[in-house]
């Protein structure tokens, strides 16, 4: 057994940002363990993707190519990587923690009697892998103790894409054996439900509302503050799940990613899926009744208090300041 393998994911035909972050994580682990870092790209046509990855300091790049890998399926990707892992016998297999990886990496790991250590935010000597517990309120340090490859996925933004070391890697082709009958799911093309009319991505001032609002009837409180600020209104997932605001106003990994000058998070506890979406904000303000809420970790200014009381006071203060 030897080596670290990073599984690259593409986005619109290019190496995704998360994949570069996974390469950085792989190189960091390589520095800790004195091993070489390699990368695998998967698909029906992988030449350009492999060429992009080959410009990094990696030992080997393998193009896992098969016509049945044209569209992602858990069965296809698991079979293909299973065969590469059986051939290369790596110590570590690193992925970006994406929806796609969540769909097949646990299955792949189980096939080797292993468990994915998922959504990792830091790698320390040992190696010890940190991941968040209790919706980000605690950290857990995990150690791998199995007799087999250690599967790890890294959280978006936890490692820096720009730190992936440049270099020149040799590229080779790997042709897995996959039978059509082994692919049991049939995916459609991706689609969006409705044309998005709210573009939170380019809004400069955003007020976000979460569970702390308690009832849809209380939403006007927050709307008034947004109006006073001239801000767009956004929400955490539960608010949209309840149908209190339309899905297109959802901020986070499954909704929109924002990068405003000012983001006010009201009654939002700060689950990681939400924090990922607000990372680009210049200034974050959090109002939450629980002073231990993870949202305060990401906030520049915080008020620990009941938003029913704080928000109207804030609306008044904003109006007064704007007069």
């Amino acid at each position: 057994m030897s080596g670290i393998w990073v599984v690259i994911e593409d986005r619109d035909g290019r190496v995704s940002r998360g994949s570069w972050e996974a390469v950085t994580a792989g190189q960091k682990l390589a520095a800790l363990s004195g091993q070489s870092t390699n990368a695998a790209v998967l698909g029906a046509q992988t030449e350009s993707l492999a060429a992009e990855v080959a410009a990094k300091a990696l030992a080997k790049i393998v193009r896992i190519e098969h016509p049945l890998l044209a569209a992602y399926t858990a069965d296809g990707f698991t079979l293909a990587l299973q065969q590469l892992i059986a051939a290369e016998k790596p110590d570590y297999v690193i992925f970006p923690h994406t929806y796609q990886v969540r769909d097949y990496a646990p299955k792949l790991a189980a096939r080797f009697g292993q468990v994915l250590i998922g959504d990792v935010t830091a790698i320390a000597d040992g190696p010890l892998f940190t991941r968040q517990l209790m919706q980000g309120r605690l950290n857990g340090s995990y150690r791998h103790s199995g007799n087999g490859p250690c599967f790890v996925s890294v959280q978006a933004g936890a490692f820096r894409a720009a730190e992936a070391q440049p270099g020149a890697a040799a590229v080779s082709l790997f042709s897995p054996t996959i039978e059509p009958a082994q692919i049991r799911t049939r995916p459609s093309e991706r689609f969006r439900d409705a044309a998005q009319t709210v573009d939170l991505g380019s809004a400069q001032l955003i007020v976000g509302v979460g569970r702390g609002i308690k009832d849809a009837a209380n939403l006007p409180l927050v709307q008034e503050l947004a109006t006073a600020l001239g801000a767009e209104l956004g929400a955490s997932r539960p608010i949209c799940d309840n149908g209190w605001l339309p899905m297109e106003r959802q901020i986070g990994s499954s909704g929109q990613t924002i990068a405003p000058r000012l983001y006010l998070a009201l009654g939002i506890s700060g689950a990681i899926q939400h924090l990922v979406g607000i990372k680009g904000s210049q200034c974050v303000v959090a109002v939450n009744k629980d002073p231990g809420a993870p949202i305060f970790e990401a906030a520049d200014y915080g008020i620990a208090g009941d938003l029913m009381e704080v928000v109207p006071a804030l609306t008044e203060a904003v109006k007064a300041a704007r007069q």
Partner: protein, 256 residues
């Protein structure tokens, strides 16, 4: 159609979390527990499928005695019976260890569909359903918002990142992990709560299902996260705090 819904009891969302003396897990005494949120959506989807196509909804969970309350809650909402894997050391097992228990309990039931939430609110690993499918040799799909039954299986709506979706066809039996928000959750009715008391809950000792409980991914230590930013907390009455905040935003952060 026979549907098994694998659910988990987790600490209540607002519960005060403390690290235990050993520093390896949370202090469980005095904690309030609730049904994991995405599991509630999995149960809801199962109940709707049963209302449309007939059949049976069986809830399955693993954990100590206290998880019985969560099974009763699911029965009160409309599930037909419960399976309780009696297991005092659930937190010492990793996702593969838990999935092994669930797989052993599911197998003799021969369900047409297995649903579970996409992740638990305590460990947040989001792996149990996917591994369960692998252990049972069944196809799966994750992050599902909606399930339609077809002649030979299911067509499901899967959530992708950034507001994209995808339809996936898969044959029965299958395992689906359900994302929150696909349906509106129902409340248990008084009649439902009454009926739940008479429904069957079968307890199976974990030792009868899967022997191997030693984890591959070992949780060594639990700690409080370090602050990434230095947060200025503004105190005082709501009015004072609000005024101080606007002042800071205007003159210090200069974002207003």
């Amino acid at each position: 159609m026979k549907i098994i819904v694998a659910i988990k009891q987790v600490p209540e969302r607002d519960a005060q979390i403390r690290i235990n003396a050993a520093g390896k897990w949370i202090e469980e005494s005095g904690l309030q527990y609730a049904l994991n949120e995405s599991d509630a959506y999995a149960l809801e989807e199962a109940l709707r499928l049963k209302e449309k196509h007939g059949g049976e909804v069986v809830v399955l969970t693993a954990g100590p005695e206290r998880v019985g309350a969560t099974i009763r809650e699911a029965l009160a909402k409309g599930a037909d019976r419960g399976l309780h894997i009696d297991c005092a050391d659930l937190t010492q097992r990793d996702a593969l260890g838990v999935a092994r228990l669930l797989a052993a309990a599911v197998k003799p039931e021969n369900p047409d569909l297995i649903l579970t939430g996409l992740q638990s609110d305590d460990l947040g690993q989001g792996q149990t359903g996917v591994i369960l499918a692998e252990l049972l040799g069944l196809p799966h799909s994750s992050l599902i918002l909606h399930v339609d039954k077809t002649e030979t299986g299911f067509t499901v709506k899967r959530e992708l990142e950034e507001g994209w979706f995808q339809l996936i066809e898969l044959p029965a039996p299958a395992v689906l992990t359900i994302q929150s928000g696909g349906n509106k959750l129902r409340y248990a009715t008084l009649m439902g709560i009454k009926r739940a008391k008479t429904k069957e809950v079968r307890a199976v000792p974990a030792s009868e299902l899967a022997a191997d409980s030693s984890p591959v991914a070992v949780l060594e230590r639990v700690s409080l996260p370090q602050k990434q930013k230095s947060t200025q907390m503004l105190s005082g009455s709501p009015k004072e705090a609000a005024a101080a905040l606007v002042e800071k935003l205007k003159f210090e952060a200069r974002v207003l």
